[in-house]
């Protein structure tokens, strides 16, 4: 095994850290910590983007790193914290499955994700192609988190984390999507969170809580 260059080691470490963060989010009970973990995830992705930009010299990646930093590390966590304060939803979240079970499911999902990413990894020519599997795993783990959580806020964070995973996947497979698409996606994410903010207030006005089991009445019986 020839030693990898330092840059590559750092990228690998970031990828591994992202995977770890996904599991941390999966097992995190408190909403406030969840938002912080989401911010850290954004920061790791921004750092990775910077490293890749520095290594490949692709200027648009600097912009997308700045965009990630502004949107996912600064603005969205700030907005979510603000929402949490305004809505007074600082109480704990409770996962549906017990944590050990969720973790085991998570491990199975990671193995599945690695299998799924295998053909892409073989074809990719980027220096981070090994991280594609991790990106897929992050997406699927966020999906798992959305399934296991009952609180509106944690589902939203799951949704955002899924988007983070996709962004990371795009970067590891192709050094990022074209700038205009990335801008569009960022705009959509931003609008989505704003719309959800409005939505939270509507839900709370109606039910006095953000617990989603209130939202299970509409079924086939009507």
């Amino acid at each position: 095994m020839t030693p990898l260059p330092l840059n590559q080691q750092l990228l690998n470490a970031c990828a591994a850290l992202l995977l770890l963060l996904s599991f941390a989010m999966l097992s995190q009970r408190r909403i406030v910590s969840l938002v912080n973990l989401f911010a850290v995830q954004g920061a790791v992705i921004a750092a990775t983007t910077l490293l890749v930009a520095w290594r490949t010299g692709e200027t648009h990646l600097y912009f997308s790193a700045a965009l990630t930093l502004a949107l996912k590390v600064a603005f969205l966590p700030w907005l979510l914290h603000r929402l949490i304060r305004r809505l007074e939803v600082r109480w704990d979240t409770e996962p549906l499955l017990d944590i050990s079970g969720t973790m085991l499911a998570g491990i199975v999902i990671v193995v599945f994700a690695f299998g799924l990413a295998e053909p892409i990894t073989h074809l990719a020519s980027t220096s981070m192609r090994n991280a594609i599997g991790i990106a897929v795993a992050v997406v699927l783990l966020a999906f798992l988190m959305m399934i296991t959580r009952r609180k509106a806020m944690s589902q939203v964070i799951g949704f955002l984390s899924m988007e983070n995973g996709l962004f990371f996947g795009a970067m590891s497979a192709t050094y990022g999507m074209p700038m205009i698409v990335e801008l569009g996606v960022a705009l959509d994410v931003l609008v989505a969170v704003l719309v959800l903010g409005v939505f939270f207030f509507q839900i709370r006005e109606q039910f006095d809580s953000l617990d989603l089991h209130h939202l299970e009445r509409l079924g086939e019986r009507r």
Binding site: H60, L116, P119, I120, L123, A124, S125, V136, V139, F143, M146, A152, Q155, F159, M162, E163, L166, G169, A170, A173, T174, Y175, M177, P178, M179, I180, V181, G184, V185, L187, D188, V191, A192, V195, L196, V198, F199, Q202, I203, E205, Q206, F207, L212, H214, L215, E216, R217, L218, E220, R222
Partner: protein, 486 residues
């Protein structure tokens, strides 16, 4: 081209203008005026494409060919008629106290924004921007679904947002994979590597394994928005709980545009794979949706949910027809998309009025429409007959074409399809009949509601059933050729 700038510029301007004056007295008229402007622009674009063939505009960022131009025209037309319908309808809602002026402003502004996202999704040449526009369509309608702020509408809105959000995230991954495969062939060209026209030119060189994987994700993603089973569960809720004009445009337009996205992807993937996998998947999902929707139709008690399930069924049928591939089936699918869109929106118009009069969406509470108002009664009856595929209407023609093609290519599917259509017929016809002709104590309405859009739609559907004008037929044929191959 100037037409395209108007096509996208008018709804954008409308969204901004109505964000300021959407609560004024004349706002519904302004909304209709903007929709009319969009329709005129769409007609201009259409004439241009008919005259000059496919157009690649604005340094290749927008692309209009026979396939999407007819959807553009359809979208603009249904957008116009729906805005005409919503004019008196929303006034009554405000008068009933279900809406505040602020929410009316939101409604008008978002309506135009929704049209903008639909039209940009249709006309963009960039698969990435297509995704952005599709997500934008969800975001602009999610607050419209919750417009009444009832617990049920909030639930429906949440489900709509989360399910479509997750679905659309899968589509983003599919798009990333597409870009990944394209970059291998086209080289690092940035935005150009996601242009559909370029991808289409080199589709046979794209890496098949990656594209197969991409198609799975794209189909699941956009398929969620088409309402394909098993990811359909947002659709009935969103249709039932939102205001009726929104149900009409969701059913008549959004589903079409999502299916359009799926078909665009299918063309690329099929060119790369040289196998029947994409077609099989479309057929499978389509058939599943048809069967599931038909079975669930019987259990519905809410009239808007009933017709929402009928939408799932018809979109399933169109998806199935695209899966059959070949020009005839594709022709039938395009025709089916058109007539379904027109018929279903006209049904929602009448249903909206009927429910508004009855003060309830439960079918048991709606009785004797023919006595209350013959126009509503006949409108609903004719609309139901049209959507059920009875002969002179266009749905009959398209379903007949789909069934005969399926008979030749996939005979095993015929019994399933016939059974599902039969079940759907029984479920819908029985309900509609009792709603239209049942006994009622309600008084006759003093004046007939303005149902011009309903009869305009039904008239077009009728004409399409009897006779397809040659230029329209030519147009469909060109589109079918484009998608289904020679």
């Amino acid at each position: 081209m100037i037409g395209l700038s108007f096509l996208l510029g008018i709804p954008a301007a409308g969204a901004i203008a109505l964000a300021f004056c959407g609560a004024r007295r004349g706002a519904p008229e302004i909304n209709a005026a903007f929709s009319f402007g969009t329709f005129v622009a769409a007609c201009a674009v259409t004439l241009r494409v008919i005259g000059h063939g496919p157009q690649l505009l604005w340094s290749g960022q927008f692309f209009i060919d026979a396939f999407n131009v007819f959807l553009v025209a359809l979208t603009a037309f249904v957008g116009l008629t729906t805005s005409l319908f919503s004019r008196p309808y929303m006034r009554v809602e405000v008068a009933h106290g279900r809406l505040t002026p602020g929410r009316l402003r939101l409604y008008h502004s978002m309506y135009q924004l929704f049209m903008l996202t639909m039209l940009s999704a249709l006309t963009t040449n960039n698969m990435g921007l297509l995704w952005v526009a599709m997500e934008g369509a969800t975001l602009s309608t999610v607050l419209l679904v919750t417009l009444y702020r009832t617990p049920q509408s909030l639930e429906a809105g949440w489900k709509y947002f989360i399910l479509c959000g997750v679905g659309i995230a899968q589509a983003l991954f599919g798009t990333i994979l597409l870009y990944f495969a394209a970059e291998k062939v086209l080289g690092a060209q940035g935005v150009a590597a996601l242009e559909w026209t370029r991808l289409n030119a080199v589709k046979s060189q794209l890496e098949p394994t990656v594209l197969a994987l991409a198609f799975v994700f794209l189909l699941v993603g956009y398929g969620t928005k088409v309402g394909l089973a098993p990811l359909h569960s947002w659709l009935p809720d969103a249709h039932a709980e939102g205001p009726t004009p929104i149900s009409a445009v969701l059913s008549g337009l959004l589903l079409n545009v999502a299916l359009y996205a799926v078909v665009r992807c299918k063309v690329l993937v099929e060119g790369s794979l040289h196998s029947a996998l994409p077609s099989r998947m479309l057929m499978g999902f389509g058939l599943l949706s048809v069967v599931l929707a038909a079975l669930l139709l019987f259990r519905q008690r809410d009239i808007k949910r009933l017709f929402a399930y009928s939408s799932i069924e018809h979109m399933g049928l169109a998806t199935f027809a695209f899966g059959l591939s070949g020009p005839v089936a594709t022709f039938a699918a395009l025709l089916h998309m058109t007539v379904h869109s027109l018929t279903k929106s006209s049904i929602f118009f009448t249903v909206g009025h009927a429910a508004q009069k009855a003060g309830s969406q439960l079918m048991d509470d709606i009785r004797g429409l023919i006595t209350i108002s013959p126009t509503i009664g006949w409108g609903l009856m004719l609309g139901a007959l049209a959507i059920l595929g009875l002969p002179p209407f266009g749905v009959f023609a398209s379903e007949f074409l789909i069934l005969t093609t399926a008979m030749r290519q996939q005979p095993w599917s015929i019994p399933i399809l016939l059974l599902a259509l039969g079940i759907a017929f029984a479920a819908i016809f029985g309900r509609v009949q009792s709603m239209v002709f049942g006994e009622t104590q309600a008084r006759r309405l003093p004046h007939a509601p303005a149902l011009l859009p309903v009869f305009a739609h039904l008239a077009i559907v009728l004409v399409l059933g009897l006779y397809i004008p040659p230029y329209l037929a030519e147009w469909y044929r060109a589109a079918a050729h484009l998608i289904g191959g020679p």
